[in-house]
């Protein structure tokens, strides 16, 4: 069970949170213009790296805020937690 730092509430037990998957996932701006394989890429394909991963988590049984956690998928070390807005602009899939 991880100890996760909510940027708004502080360090809390994992049971208060829910993981929303990889943070790099971004919805294409114009889904109607992209190919089926590109849409499938957005829907189903993930990086799943061995090592550092940025994930979005929500403090579900706390403040309800989503934020970004940097987690090492090997050691489960959590390196930092950032508010959603502090994230550098995310890469968009090509339209």
């Amino acid at each position: 069970m991880l100890l996760i730092k909510c940027p708004y509430c502080g360090v809390r037990d994992q049971t208060e949170f829910r993981c929303g998957g990889e943070a790099s996932r971004a919805r294409p701006d114009h889904p109607e213009h992209i190919s089926d394989p590109d849409w499938a890429q957005y829907l189903f394909y993930r990086e799943n790296p061995k090592g550092l991963l940025r994930e979005r988590w929500v403090h579900r049984y706390g403040c309800g805020q989503w934020f970004i956690v940097s987690r090492d998928t090997v050691t489960h070390d959590i390196l930092d937690s950032l508010p959603m807005g502090d994230l550098p602009p995310k890469g968009r899939d090509a339209p």
Binding site: M1, G20, R27, W39, L43, V58, W66, H76
Partner: protein
């Protein structure tokens, strides 16, 4: 030797038992007497009970092999009735007055077991037998036989009457093990001011100090342990948990501890501890030796024998032979000879033994046989003799004995370290796996780290605790480490296991009946990876998880495949370290405490109305049966009341999300497949929500309360989920939208007044809202006073009748319901429950998301494809609807079903085959999703998903309801008032 009357094998003096407190207990119905301080195992041994169990596969008699949690043989049932606990290790069950214990694996009895037929025919039951039953001829042939023959214990029937607790705790340092190392470390860490939790699995701390004749500073080791424990108990920063096993280590060093209650109101307590640092001081486990027929009752670990002799004053035999591959077993010889118990021979597999030890043995008068091993044993219900042979085969003849003490070396208890993903390396001198790389915030000390020497252990434990304290910012004072003034014989160099060439069975894993022959077969069949080997032979997979046998299995596998043991490696140690009851994992979360009951705000009113409640996440009335009326009849009556006059339904659990902000309409346009921004204020629309895969996840109406304010109805179970989903989109993806979402579900009570007389009831209630159809048409909403309560009234319908939904603050629920019933009385109003609502909506073919739809249903499948296609802008899931699979024409589509025999009831879940009088096997063409008897039409009706269903209206299809087949007609999914004339009155 003088034997007291109580227990023929009990010494007159010595041991840590209270002879003033005899305890009576029964084993397999026979009464015995033991003492306070006994375990069930020591008391059985004192009474001369040797065979206590039958083995798992061959049903051979088994005795007590160890003295701790590692026990592979002595599994018994404790207690009676619902409180009976199967698979208890007799070696860790403290004896209590009136304890009832029973053997569990023998049938009809432990001494006469018909299952032993398997033993006589053992060549038929090799390793992998179980796996092979799946291949030839098939599993069904073997299932009955295997199920009768195998298995451990009987599961409980009925609810568990015991109570279980759970505790969460934080500490600076968790010490696993309360032996000399753990106690020493705890003292140092406590004096430094650390918050310490020390967990010791035995009922008392001390470890080897309690079972060996050790002296510290010229006093008995157990006295030092007792003094240390009482000092630690006085420290406010120390929590000392005895009878508590550390069962697992998880991410971020979270550990779980299983505490057994001692005179408490609860049976077990599961602790979840977050320590800043973990110190493993868990000691080592003695391993068995591999030789022919090494499983007989009377064969016992040498250290376990010392434990019973020294701690419980039990010598469970009269003639002893010792077999070993290391020095530590010699301590057993000296302890026994000290008590004048004859040891006829010491069989040491090593060629050379230290001269000092040889001399001590000579002086004691025991015969030493070097470079030899046990080549066979005799005695069915208990050991009678052993045969000895040199490694090269020279037979050295029999020795009569009823007790054989064996030692195959010591394996550090590194399981928890492995849970935490520390690594191990094989240490040749000690022939065991010892810690290599430690996880972050971990330390290991004492025998767990491979240390043999007690003084070294004490010094190292003190040092480790000092280092940890300093690391955690609490410098420790110097603390005197006690000096070992009388030690014990240490294992020294351990000889490699050398199984003899014999056609007799040599057990590697006593608990799962795995033999050397099984290992050889597995290797012959190619299972040479340690993980494959384990699964094929099932070695180490029983209740004991191979605590006394795994190491030997790895060594054997190495020898059979010509690899060094270090190269073979170990299997993966996984939590829990010892079996944990489901009760402890559940804690108090069972029965009434499983989940809070959610009551409707007008719950008491529904009780008064004789509602028959069921849990739908909320306690809701299914219907309101009258005295003597069945639920089915009540539903039929309530439905007819709504169709003919008027009914009232408590719809309070329906999800109510308020969405507001300048961009609310823009946002909801992306959320629903329907157009939202074009909806005028005061109007209502039905909408479907999809996930990004294009699958329907929720439905319900939404009301535009103001230009920038909407109220969304979700399914009653979906409010939290949908609110969470909307938040995720707003916070993570569309951060530029200025929208707020509030879940108001529990703030509002909501009642539906439905039926031809609904408007009359509202008029009778008294309202300032204009109810004229032109002013408040179907799918419109208005706010005002109803029955003098501030209300919102929406004309929406899930029944197909003229219908008003009246929402009031939750606290006004009962007042409103009471008013509605009073106002409706002249019109014959009846309350109707959720079962009745389901019949009403099925008659109208209204979709019930999650019942009629599943994780693959798209809007087009349920007839909403045109709406989705017409919508101009993007919405969640839209792109996925364009994928080829979602455009296929043979998708399952929503249809109605009418059995040809109108009295023939359909059942949800029945499969459909296109065409009349079809017979499976066939690929299913669909299934029934909802079904009921329609009282309005007086016939059975159903809703279904059917392959290409919309083009099959009018066709006959076959229903396959388990073994029954019958024909039904496919119809449009609306059985009543298809023109919606009744809605729009």
């Amino acid at each position: 030797m003088i034997r007291p009357p109580l227990g023929p094998f009990r010494l007159a003096s010595g041991g840590r038992i209270d002879r003033q407190e005899p305890l009576t207990f029964t084993f397999d119905g026979v009464p015995y007497v033991g003492f306070r301080g006994d375990t069930l195992a020591s008391a059985l041994l004192a009474n001369g009970v040797r065979a206590v169990a039958r083995s798992f596969k061959y049903h051979r008699p088994r005795g007590i092999f160890s003295a701790g949690e590692e026990e592979p043989c002595a599994l018994v049932e404790i207690g009676e009735g619902h409180a009976r606990v199967p698979n208890c290790r007799a070696t860790v069950v403290p004896l209590e007055e009136g304890l009832v214990a029973a053997s569990q694996s023998g049938w009809p009895s432990v001494n006469f077991d018909l299952g032993r037929m398997v033993d006589f025919t053992h060549p038929l039951w090799p390793a992998g037998f179980y796996n092979k039953t799946f291949k030839w001829p098939n599993w069904k042939t073997w299932e009955g036989l295997v199920r009768r023959a195998a298995g451990l214990g009987r599961p409980l029937e009925g609810p568990d009457p015991d109570r279980y607790e759970q505790v969460n705790a934080h500490c600076d340092l968790l010490i696993c093990g309360g032996g000399p190392a753990g106690l020493m470390a705890a003292q140092v860490a406590a004096s430094a001011g650390l918050r310490v939790i020390l967990a010791e699995q035995s009922p008392d701390c001390g470890g080897v100090l309690n079972s060996e004749n050790i002296e510290l500073d010229d006093q008995h080791g157990s006295d030092w342990a007792t003094r240390t424990v009482s000092r630690l108990r006085e420290q406010p920063n120390v929590l000392l948990l005895e009878h508590t096993v550390v069962t697992g280590v998880y991410d971020h060093n979270v550990t779980t501890l299983l505490q057994t209650g001692q005179g408490s109101t609860w049976r077990e307590c599961l602790w979840t501890v977050r320590p800043r640092h973990v110190l493993l001081a868990s000691g080592a486990i003695e391993q068995g030796l591999i030789f022919p027929n090494n499983d007989r009752p009377g064969i016992m670990l040498a250290g376990a024998l010392r434990h019973y002799v020294n701690r419980h004053a039990v010598v469970p035999g009269t003639a002893v032979v010792v077999a070993t591959n290391n020095d530590s077993a010699y301590q057993t010889v000296f302890d026994l000879l000290h008590l004048q118990v004859p040891v006829s021979a010491v069989v040491d597999s090593r060629e050379s033994i230290s001269p000092a030890l040889q001399k001590r043995l000579q002086m004691a008068g025991a015969e030493l046989i070097q470079g030899a091993c046990i080549s066979d044993t005799r005695g069915f219900g208990g050991l009678r003799s052993v045969r000895i042979a040199r490694h090269e085969g020279t037979d050295l003849g029999h020795r009569a004995c009823d007790l054989l003490a064996v030692s195959g070396g010591w394996a550090p208890r590194v399981h928890l370290l492995a849970h935490a993903r520390g690594t191990l390396r094989f240490d040749e001198p000690s022939q065991s796996f010892v810690p290599d790389r430690l996880p972050a915030a971990w330390s290991v000390t004492g025998a767990a780290s491979g240390m043999q020497h007690l003084q070294q252990t004490l010094d190292d434990a003190a040092l480790a605790a000092r280092r940890i304290s300093e690391q955690l910012g609490h410098p420790a004072d110097d603390l005197a480490v006690p000096q070992v003034t009388r030690g014990m014989v240490e294992p020294a160099e351990v000889g490699a296991q050398r199984p003899t060439a014999s056609r007799k069975r040599q057990w590697i894993d006593l608990a799962h009946d795995v033999t050397l022959g099984d290992a050889e077969l597995a290797v012959r069949e190619g299972f040479v990876s340690v993980e494959h080997f384990k699964r094929y032979t099932t070695t180490g997979m029983s209740v004991d998880q191979g605590k006394t046998g795994n190491l030997n299995a790895f060594i054997v596998l190495g020898a059979l495949t010509g690899r060094a043991t270090g190269e073979v490696g170990t299997t993966t140690f996984r939590p829990p370290y010892v079996p944990v009851t489901l009760g402890a994992m559940a804690g108090i979360r069972s029965g009434e405490f499983y989940a809070p009951r959610r009551l409707l705000p007008a719950h008491l009113m529904h009780q008064k109305l004789q509602g028959q409640f069921e849990d739908y996440g909320w306690q809701r009335p299914d219907a309101y049966p009258r005295p003597g009326e069945s639920l089915h009849d009540a539903v039929q009556r309530e439905v007819l009341a709504v169709r003919s006059t008027v009914g009232v339904f408590d719809n309070s659990p329906i999800g109510k999300l308020e969405v507001r902000g300048p961009d609310a309409a823009r946002f909801l346009d992306r959320v629903y497949i329907n157009n939202v921004s074009g909806l005028p204020v005061g109007r209502v629309r039905y909408g479907l929500m999809l996930n990004e895969n294009g699958v329907i996840i929720d439905d319900g109406v939404f009301i535009r309360l103001a230009q920038d304010r909407f109220l969304l109805n979700t399914t009653s179970g979906g409010a939290g989920r949908i609110a969470g989903m909307l938040e995720e989109w707003l916070q993570c993806e569309w951060r530029d939208l200025r929208v707020l979402v509030d879940d108001l579900t529990t703030q509002w009570a909501c009642f539906t007044v439905a039926g031809p007389r609904a408007r009359d009831v509202l008029t009778a209630l008294g309202t300032d809202i204009d109810l004229a159809p032109a002013a408040l048409p179907h799918m419109a909403a208005a706010c005002g006073l109803v029955a003098a309560l501030q209300s919102r009234v929406a004309r929406v319908s899930f029944s197909g009748e003229l219908s008003y939904e009246i929402s009031v603050p939750a606290r006004c629920a009962s007042a409103l319901l009471e008013a509605i019933l009073a106002a409706g009385q002249p019109f014959g109003i009846e309350p109707y429950g959720i079962e009745s609502l389901m019949v009403l909506r099925a008659e109208k073919g209204y979709l019930h998301v999650g019942t009629d739809t599943d994780g693959s249903t798209t809007p087009d499948d349920v007839g909403w494809g045109e709406v989705a296609r017409r919508k101009a802008g993007d919405f969640i899931g839209k792109r996925s609807l364009e994928r080829p699979a979602n455009r296929a024409t043979d998708r399952k589509q929503f249809v109605g079903l009418e059995p040809i025999d109108p009295g023939r009831a359909l059942r949800p879940g029945s499969h459909l085959l296109i065409g009349a009088d079809r017979q499976p096997p066939a690929v299913t063409d669909g299934w029934v999703t909802s079904a009921c008897h329609s009282p309005t039409l007086d016939r059975a009706i159903g809703l279904a998903m059917l392959r290409g269903g919309r083009s099959r209206i009018g066709e006959i299809v076959t229903v396959c309801d388990e073994e029954q087949r019958f024909n039904v007609k496919v119809v449009a999914p609306v059985f009543y008032d298809p023109a919606n004339a009744r809605l729009n009155t």
